[in-house]
């Protein structure tokens, strides 16, 4: 039997030639979506229901993630740059409309309300984070917890779909999967050229560095050597590893045998990611 993939299931609802022609979309929130799908399936929801809930959450999250790609440039843009921006906006709106249409067709009115409220909540968090980033009034821990909350918010409403012990464990599982995703992205970005600007690394260094000269370097995005000096990559890798361990520990619960089975490939993918960055760390030393 073909393995379920959210990208395949959502494809009919995201494809519109204008979108594909003019812009690139972000990736799906795979780890959280795999967690949700596994949790629904292990809670005796039918395959159809599990797929529907997963696809609509994927769509609404993808819509908001697409809107996150809108630039704030105000200068002259080329026609293609304008089209790309315009289609990102409309793609995000289109995915959101499709989420509503799918749930409306299925008569899932309560879930429309729950997920729509979560959309409003996510955007409230985004404005707060954006405001703090702009005014540079943010600690590394605040930045981290905001990013984790932003990732988990759309998935929290599903807690009420589960029974004990998953009911109690859902938010914690979601937190650690989101935390893992955040640190994986942060590590990836911090190794990409210029990717660490306004990242966890940036906010950490800003709180750690002591001299005025170092603070100036950070603001000029010229601080690769400071990442080494303050051991930032090691801290991030350690946090990635800890998040993976925490999920593993939670799944050891005696009633989660089936959930653990459902999440087997997710855990394997996470283990591979930890190993990948551990290797990079060893190579760097």
């Amino acid at each position: 039997m073909k393995k379920y993939r959210v990208a395949d299931a959502a494809a009919p609802f995201v494809q519109y030639d204008m979108i594909q022609q003019h812009t690139e979309l972000p990736v799906y929130a795979e780890p959280r979506l795999q967690l949700l799908f596994g949790a629904l399936k292990s809670s005796n929801y039918s395959k159809e229901q599990s797929e529907l809930y997963n696809v609509v959450t994927a769509l609404v999250q993808l819509g908001m993630d697409t809107h996150d790609l809108i630039d704030t440039e105000t200068g002259q843009r080329t026609e293609e740059q304008m089209r790309s921006r315009q289609l990102k906006i409309l793609a995000g709106d289109y995915f959101s409309a499709r989420f509503y249409q799918l749930l409306a067709k299925a008569g899932e009115i309560e879930l429309i309300g729950l997920l729509s409220k979560a959309v409003a909540d996510v955007n409230r968090l985004k404005v707060s984070l954006y405001e703090k980033v702009q005014s540079a009034t943010l600690s590394a821990e605040e930045y981290l917890s905001s990013r984790i909350n932003l990732k988990s918010e759309m998935f929290k409403p599903f807690q009420r779909f589960f029974e004990e012990p998953l009911l109690s464990a859902w938010n914690e599982l979601l937190h650690y999967v989101s935390r893992f995703e955040v640190f994986y992205e942060e590590l990836k970005d911090s190794l990409a050229a210029g990717g660490y600007a306004r990242s966890f690394a940036y906010w950490s260094l800003l709180g750690m560095t002591t001299t005025a000269e170092e603070k100036t370097l950070i603001k000029q995005n010229n601080y690769e050597h400071l990442l080494e000096k303050y051991n930032i990559h090691h801290v991030m890798l350690d946090k990635l590893h800890t998040a993976h361990e925490a999920i593993h520990r939670l799944l050891e619960h005696e009633h989660f045998t089936e959930l653990k089975h459902e999440l087997h490939s997710l855990m394997e993918e996470m283990a591979l990611k930890v190993a990948k960055y551990s290797m990079k760390r060893v190579e760097a030393q």
Partner: protein
């Protein structure tokens, strides 16, 4: 009866909707609240809420339910305007700075998504599946309409049919379901709420055609944005399509459109507007808008004769003559 008199007669219920709109978008996050209220306070005709209320008068008028539908539709409209201003890179709307201009694109995206989320949270309190089926379908079509508009930017070979399909999706559907959903939540029979749909649809088509004419004939003060914005952006509207069919102006107008395309945002559109005004395009577009108004009025004959029907007649006449 003038439009203002209709609003005055419905003042009590419209005020309740206005208060509810303000309550729903006021947020504990100060910046988000300010940005969301910014557009709300700039005013607007609130035509969608008025349509919902009037549609509801043909059944059992329950303000609590109608208010939820009215607030939802106005918020969906507002959210789309906030995003549209990023799409169009517009600095002013209704004579005020746009959210993207007062803050930036990112805040505009978050504000639009927040308002949209609040809108659907409101409508989810209505449990009638038909409401959600109709509304969600209209939202999908609206997005497709916007994408199709971009596809045809600066395309001077497009047909009238193509334009009509686009404005149907972009504007008419949301107005059509405003009257229709009012009727549905008030428990009207399908024959009645379908007639309400057709009324809203035809008025919506006329409304958009008049809006496209106003972009060519209005002043910045009247329309709240610089005239000629559509053509500068590449949006080839009905008066332009019809003007291009006029042999007298076709070639110079094509050359002007090409120049505007090449020069971009700051291109002067006055000569193109002059060509269109001197063609038969504007008059023909005006006639087509009137035909839609006649259709809307004819549909009303299928509805019981009451004060709501009289108001809908007046609104149709107002849209037909709208010059601001």
């Amino acid at each position: 009866m003038k439009l203002l008199e209709i609003y005055a007669k419905m003042k009590g219920d419209i005020n309740k909707i206005e208060n509810e709109l303000e309550r729903v978008v006021s947020d504990e996050q100060p910046l988000l609240s300010e940005a969301a209220l910014h557009l709300l306070k700039a005013g607007g005709k609130r035509i969608r809420p008025v349509f919902v209320l009037l549609g509801g008068k043909f059944g059992t008028y329950n303000l609590d339910d109608l208010k939820k539908v009215a607030v939802t539709l106005e918020l969906i409209h507002m959210a789309s305007l906030v995003h549209d201003d990023v799409i169009d890179d517009a600095n002013t709307r209704r004579g005020q700075l746009t959210v993207k201009s007062k803050w930036d694109n990112r805040i505009a995206m978050y504000t639009g998504d927040y308002i949209h989320g609040q809108a659907l949270t409101q409508i989810a309190q209505i449990k009638n599946p038909k409401v959600h089926e109709m509304l969600s379908k209209a939202l999908v079509e609206m997005c497709i309409g916007e994408m199709e508009q971009i596809r045809y930017f600066f395309n001077t070979d497009q047909s009238i049919r193509n334009y009509l399909l686009r404005i149907r999706r972009k504007t008419a559907l949301l107005l059509a379901i405003s009257t229709q959903l009012g009727g549905i939540v008030a428990g009207c029979a399908p024959q009645q709420y379908n007639a309400l749909y057709r009324y809203g649809y035809n008025v919506g088509m006329a409304f958009q055609i008049r809006d496209d004419l106003l972009d060519l004939y209005g002043t910045e003060k009247q329309i709240g944005k610089p005239p000629g914005s559509d053509i500068r952006q590449g949006n080839i509207t009905l008066p332009v399509i019809l003007a291009l069919e006029d042999a007298q102006v076709r070639e110079p107008l094509l050359a002007e459109i090409k120049r505007i395309h090449d020069e971009g945002d700051r291109a002067d559109t006055s000569r193109a507007i002059e060509y269109i005004r001197n063609s038969e395009g504007s008059q023909l577009a005006d006639e087509l808008a009137n035909r839609y108004i006649e259709k809307a009025l004819a549909v009303l004959e299928h509805l019981p004769s009451n004060s709501a029907r009289k108001h809908l007649v007046e609104i149709a006449h107002f849209v037909g003559k709208r010059n601001y």
